[in-house]
Symmetry: C2
Subunit: 506 residues, 2 copies
């Protein structure tokens, strides 16, 4: 029985981090691999989490004037080809629809029939197909800004997949905006990165670094790509949201033109920005421990599970009544944007029941037995503390202080993640030390990496690619909040005016 093991997840993070990740996702019942290559099944516990994330983000977008819409799943090949860098970026990994029916072949087996004149690509992203609509919708400066978002599935035929982090199909949102001026488009690009930052930090309790990508790491076709980067517990970086300033590239490609106030025709300035189910992988790797995942209360699939403890059959009705009344009381409470989600688990499976919920990462487990009822108490376990650390609280106090308690867990998770990142972020000014920091043999454990290095870089692609070749380390971003500081490129010694973030990345 799991309760007797040292940890609920085998292997532990230090034993084998990649394997721990696969196991923890499985044990948490968030998602699983499907029978379809590279695609996942998002199970109810994982989907409820995603629904909460969608709700919060969607509301943030709408507050800035963005409206949702829906565009075709399929992109004609000729559309994708409109922007040269763009098609180059996605051609190597896309699902191609070539036929529109099945017919019995000579051997009596069904095979593709009805070939299409032009192949259709299952959208890997929708700049070109949405650009086509924008070119029809936008005529005058009065039609601008156009602020559209789409919640959708997209497909990128990744050769090596990892659940949530890199799957052939994933769920995401993609925002697409068009503006009359460059300045306004840049402002929107930054505004959306700010939203991703707030969402990651305040809801996922995942601290992030905001910055610009280097030219080699930009979205195919973008002028500038901004991203937020988080540190996972193996000290690798996870790009957790991107916002692209597309200049007039896609407007030219799709013919998005408008008449300005002086009646002169101009190309619009566009942006796009996205975040995906990948964030769930980030959340798992930021907060999970060797007993399973830990869900931040503000997005948790459910907040509290009530575990009635019935030792004698004759206690059942009294315990269940108390449990159901407590559930009712709790469900009336609001926590941020929703009412409390309360589960009751009355399965008679002993200690395994509590461990199920620990692995699933529910913020609070509440045991209710005859003794607790007599004492008007509940016995509460917090997922952010050790599973042995349960405490008895008067029921009324528990109900009265429940939202503070949840916010305390939320805040604690964030602070823990900030401390972790700080502990594994080093300012490195010496090339030898830089190589040591990122050399696997120097790590305490396999697959636990150096961390974030804040180092000077001259700005050349040459130096950037050298680190990538030697160490598989990339520049995650040029952070917005790094102070201007004179230094020398850690690789070539040429002058540099600020530090950038180097790390291994997912």
């Amino acid at each position: 029985m799991k309760a007797q093991e040292k940890t609920a997840i085998t292997p532990t993070r230090v034993e084998d981090y990649p394997e721990w990740y696969q196991e923890v996702v499985k044990a948490s019942q968030l998602a699983e691999r499907s029978s379809v290559r590279g695609c996942m099944v998002i199970k109810p516990w994982g989907y409820a989490l995603w629904e909460n994330m969608v709700r919060v983000l969607d509301d943030m977008f709408k507050q800035t004037g963005v409206k949702n819409a829906y565009f075709p799943l399929f992109i004609p090949l000729s559309f994708l080809e409109k922007e040269a860098e763009h098609v180059e970026g996605f051609a190597k990994e896309c699902a191609v629809v070539s036929h529109h029916r099945l017919e019995k072949g000579p051997d009596g087996r069904l095979e593709p029939a009805g070939p299409l004149n032009e192949p259709l690509i299952v959208r890997p992203t929708s700049e070109t197909i949405i650009g086509d609509s924008f070119s029809n919708w936008i005529n005058s400066y009065r039609d601008l800004p156009m602020l559209i978002n789409q919640w959708a599935n997209v497909v990128r035929w990744e050769m090596r997949t990892r659940i949530f982090l890199r799957t052939s199909e994933f769920l995401w949102q993609e925002g697409h905006t068009a503006h009359a001026t460059k300045e306004e488009a840049i402002e929107r690009t930054q505004m959306m990165l700010e939203i991703y930052t707030r969402f990651a930090e305040e809801y996922l309790a995942m601290p992030v670094i905001k910055g610009s990508k280097t030219p080699s790491e930009r979205f195919p076709g973008a002028i500038d790509t901004l991203s937020i980067e988080a540190m996972m517990q193996d000290r690798k970086a996870l790009q957790s949201g991107t916002s692209h300033f597309l200049g007039q590239n896609f407007a030219r490609a799709s013919g998005i033109k408008f008449q300005n106030a002086e009646e002169i025709e101009e190309f619009a300035w566009t942006t796009s920005w996205g975040s995906s189910t990948r964030l769930i992988g980030g959340l798992v790797m930021t907060h999970g421990d060797d007993d399973g995942i830990i869900l931040p209360p503000r997005v948790a699939s459910a907040h509290i599970v009530l575990l009635p403890i019935i030792r004698k059959p004759e206690d059942r009705s009294r315990v269940m009544e108390y449990t159901e009344n407590l559930a009712k009381e709790l469900k009336e409470k609001s926590y941020h944007y929703r009412k409390l989600d309360v589960e009751i688990d009355d399965r008679e499976i002993g200690g395994a029941r509590g461990w199920d919920w620990i692995r699933k990462g529910i913020p609070l487990r509440v045991e209710i037995g005859i003794r607790d009822i007599g004492d008007e108490s509940v016995f509460v376990g917090r997922r952010d503390k050790s599973h042995k650390d349960k405490i008895s609280i008067k029921k009324d106090r528990f109900v009265g202080e429940i939202t503070d308690l949840l916010d305390d867990i939320q805040q604690g998770l964030f602070e823990r993640a900030v401390s972790f990142r700080e502990a594994h972020t080093k300012r490195i000014d010496d090339k030898k030390k830089f190589y040591e920091f990122f050399t696997p043999e120097n790590q305490e454990k396999p697959e636990i990496h150096g961390g974030f290095a804040l180092s000077h870089w001259c700005g050349s692609e040459e130096c950037e690619s050298k680190f990538k070749e030697d160490l598989s380390v990339t520049i995650r971003c040029i952070p917005f909040d790094s102070d201007s500081e004179k230094g020398k490129c850690i690789f070539c010694g040429r002058p540099s005016s600020r530090r950038v973030v180097f790390a291994k990345a997912y």
Copy 2:
């Protein structure tokens, strides 16, 4: 200018109903055809409507214990082939993915590369792929019932498409459940039809007839298909939601087995049920008039538009302040499951502005001018009344009674649709009259059809197919609420025990 025309939509319903439908969808800004064959773009006004519909239905499902999840977009051909009737039903119209990248061909143009070993079908429905998961998730009777729903896009390669009603890609929900007993599965099939009925009638204000499909109209692979059928204003039927009892067919095909309480292995009993963006087409054709669509308040994209009237520049600040304060007051009000959605339209485009909102079907238009302010009044136009019928109401009363007013519109739309259906439903016992009823030459107007005929049918596929051949009329359903009544099949004269609903259908 539209305001000077007789109607805002050309042609009118009686002039050319199919063309009216296309025009009204376009003019309402709900959706439009895309550049991708058979696929639509759902525009913000249409998508907001869909979001409200999703929210209500989703909540209804969850209240019965259903949980959401997400399954792969792609179905391996071998999965689809597991159920013989099923694959037969979908093979003729499916998008086939054959390759996973693009490569430059001999002529320098990109072409499909990386052929797949097994073709993948873009899901037309997900029984087989979800069945695969169920076969892994279900082991014991304790795992049952399994109650899952998915909100997703699906693709059926229709040769003749019509926006919302029949598109190659559409958005829908598909519920899939597995049960230990036949009775429980049948009960769930009926329960979900009941939910569709409540949703259609109480939210879409669309009266429906509940019933069973005849064997020839069943879902491919189902034992029984239940549906709700609504009458459009051209008197054709629209199937608006279906719920299928699948028996053990799909459980056998996918290996969904469980150990019962006696530890004997059995196949589960499954159901599936779906409703889609097609409902939006139904809503348009149930309530729309020759000025545009009419949105039922409970699902409307927005409830009220405020139209400040500024005749002199010096009035602007006073009128806008009054307008914004009114918007704020209204937005604090709850109407069913959400706060009131209030739009302010201060574009200076004269009468065209009001007509825009009439075409878009917003339930209430509120004009605010200097005189109204002096009088502490507002000037209100209801979309369900003539556009000339505007009335002045004291502002406080308008705000105080707003939810009653909206429910009055909702109720009125429903009653009007019920009356319409009743007026065009005939009990017909004579074959000649039946043919007359459905013969186009006998209609007052082209493309306005007979209506619903309640007639006796012997139960044979022979008679059923004869009507279909001769008149393109099908049995829409065998209604649940038709009384047992002795009669003779209107076609062959053999005995019949109840009337069924005949109609032309979308």
